[in-house]
Amino acid sequence: MATLVSLREAAAELVHDGDSVALEGFTHLIPFAAGHELIRQRRRKLTLIRMTPDLIYDQMIGMGCAARLIFSWGGNPGVGSLHRFRDAIQTGWPAPLAIEEHSHADMAARYQAGASGLPFAVMRGYVGSDLPKHNKKIKSIECPFTGEILTATPALRPDVSILHAQKADRKGNVLIYGIIGIQKEAALAAKKVIVTVEEVVDDLDASLNACVLPAWVVSCVCVVPGGAHPSYAHGYYKRDNAFCIAWDGISRDREFFRTWMERHVVGTADFAEYRRSSEAEAKVSSHR
């Protein structure tokens, strides 16, 4: 049953060095506040799982949290490269990063298999692609009914999945709406689930077929308003595209990146303070 705790407590209690951790959210509802808290608590040797690593994993990789990355598309959407992700793969800075690379359809199928209690996922995939040559987890299987050769990949079962959602009720039932991505599958595939939410309400007011994670599949709910920024929370705030574009400059140089992260993320107490700190600097530089 979900308990309502601070993000600091949830991260300290449920995420340990060496864990496999999935922070999901497909462009929408990316749990930035939770990623920052793991950076602040200096988690190490994590296996980071995420379809689209995005800025949050760029930050976590650059701050040395990750030993391994399981993913399917690692870019800054609409902007370009993730410089810390690239640097880690190309030069091993700040730590060597092992990668396990899949396609989107495969990652989605792997989470579904994990959520379904199956050992592997089956799909039509990777025809003619070089990816299976470099990823031993992509195998083939013969259909026992038709004889067709299909692709098989193992289920994903993260130690912890971390999501951001619009709201929870006081019991800890969680409502997610808009682009729901892979969130439900990531939650149900995981051993433990942390959800940060914009707000806690008396009544979720969810429609009959809404995407609701019942309180009894959620370990902890943490209230973090704005916790998906610079991603967005549909109905609350828009994606901060200007920040995503600015990130290209912040992340390009190792030392500049480190200084920025130490100052605004590690050097602040929580996400609210981080927002004040980073936005104050952005204002100063835009007036220069």
Partner: protein, 252 residues
């Protein structure tokens, strides 16, 4: 290039759209000759009708203007793998003469690349599950290469036998639209052949911008110049996009 790509899309078809150039062209088609085209983005938005171009594949406006929003496993399993997509509309970093594309690594090896690119995203399954695929990219000797550094998504695959046969549903990449012209795969050899040049571009120019010995179709066509209404629609779309995201965004 955007206009030539938009023209290639038929009204009423179902199009699985990549971000960037494909998204710009697909929305231009929707705003001009193809009002009933169904645009699917891999974030799970089906029938998206954005007012401005999305910066990311999962912008909120895609959800707000969609006929329905489904989960990511559903979009790939029921809608793509289920065979409900007519056209895959994709970009790439590199392409070879058989329409194989690379979005993974440039130079070095896979384990120690010179440049690490974002990776595959949805492409490996889009190219095999969509009934037909068009690839959009700017043409020069670095992008149109004799040999790819990595095959992320396959262009031409052996059909009717071997491991690939049963998994392939569509015709694969039949068309490549660049800033210089249009290439189509020759059904006999599966090789991309130059079939049209854009107005003001010569076949020689396109050959010089291609890393392999490019064949030119005997009946080479010239892409008609953009009409005033097409240019106006594209200009308006970019203006709305700049207003929505700040300058530069979407002006690819």
């Amino acid at each position: 290039m955007t206009i030539a790509a938009a023209r290639w899309l038929r009204n009423g078809g179902v199009c699985f759209v990549g971000i960037g150039l494909p998204s710009a062209a697909a929305n231009l088609a929707r705003l001009t000759h193809a009002p009933d085209i169904v645009l699917i983005y891999e974030s799970g938005t089906i029938g998206a009708k954005p007012h401005a171009l999305p910066l990311s594949i999962g912008d909120g406006e895609l959800a707000e203007t969609a006929d329905t929003v489904v989960s990511v496993p559903e979009i790939f399993r029921y809608w793509l793998q289920g065979g409900r997509v007519d056209v895959g509309f994709l970009g790439a970093a590199q392409i070879d003469k058989f329409g194989n594309i690379n979005t993974t690594v440039i130079g070095g090896s896979y384990d120690a690349p010179q440049v690490r690119l974002p990776g595959s995203g949805g492409a490996p399954e889009i190219v095999t599950a969509a009934k037909e695929v068009a690839i959009l990219l700017k043409q020069n000797r670095r992008t149109f290469v004799e040999k790819l550094d990595f095959v992320t998504s396959s262009g031409y695959f052996e059909r009717g036998g071997g491991n690939g046969g049963a998994q392939v549903r569509g015709r694969g990449p039949t068309t490549v639209i660049s800033d210089l012209g249009v290439l189509n795969s020759d059904p006999a050899t599966n090789e991309l052949v130059l079939t049209a040049v854009h107005t003001g571009v010569s076949a020689e120019q396109v050959k010089n911008a291609t890393g392999w010995e490019l064949r030119v179709a005997p009946n080479l066509e010239i892409t008609p110049q953009p009409s005033a209404s097409e240019l106006a629609a594209l200009r308006d779309l970019h203006a709305r996009t700049a207003a929505a995201h700040g300058s530069a965004a979407g002006a690819e």
